[in-house]
């Protein structure tokens, strides 16, 4: 699972460089996120702009990634493509995660 991240103080931006987070790669995504976010950053923004498709396995892996951060840390999502956003909406997971249309929008928002 190809992802890159950069850290700026308490903020970490993780960019997923894959087009799909689906059953085929859900476990790899979860493991890669655990390794990538094994640090002190209080706010992690997951940039999904390159992801054109997720299924419920992918959604579950993103939920797992959030749970893996542990208390006091948050996972926000940015750049959701329409198909990906609709999975969050249909499962009402858009009430659980903060969704931003772009990475810039996520960066400009205050992380409360």
């Amino acid at each position: 699972m190809d992802m890159t991240s950069r850290t700026e103080g308490a903020l970490q931006i993780v960019t997923v460089n894959a087009g799909r987070i689906d059953a085929a790669v859900a476990i790899q995504f979860k493991d890669a996120m655990r390794a990538e976010t094994d640090g002190p950053s209080r706010r992690v923004i997951l940039d999904l702009a390159q992801v054109g498709f997720i299924d419920s396995s992918g959604l579950g892996a993103i939920v797992a990634a959030m749970k893996q951060l542990g208390p006091g840390r948050r996972l926000d999502l940015a750049g959701l493509t329409p198909a990906v956003e609709s999975v969050f909406r249909l499962t009402r997971m858009d009430t659980v995660f903060a969704l931003f249309p772009t990475l810039d929008a996520a960066l400009m928002a205050h992380a409360d």
Binding site: V63, T95, V96
Partner: protein, 150 residues
Amino acid sequence: MEPVAKPRITAHRISLNTRTGGLAVRNLLGEAMVALADWGHPAEARSAVELVLAEALNNVVEHGYGFREGGPLGLEMELTAETLTCTITDHGRPFPDEALPEGRAASLEGPTAELPEGGFGWHLIRQMTSDLHYQRNDGRSKLTLHFSVV
């Protein structure tokens, strides 16, 4: 001389077959999406079909075949002016009581640490299809999914 009327294509049909293992589901979905695009099915509708088929196919791989490789998996699609009908066939285990899961929406209340990581599939399938049927005959499962063409 009167021009010959062009034949109106009233239905498109395709039959795809594979066996479980590796990226079989991804590849099957890819072929299905190419076919729908070729048939002029709109992009937004194709996304919905892709998600439903992914959920149903993943379900066969996990519950029908217990992640066993080499299990036959078939997808037939027929598109008319009114409906897209997708039929998934497999030779795996039947649904318990040969009935489709209800797909009740999971509760998202409670602490973050207790959020569900699965169980969304059938809710998604039911929300995004206009009808579905399940048949079991001679060790074969046949799941038929209908999508209204708006």
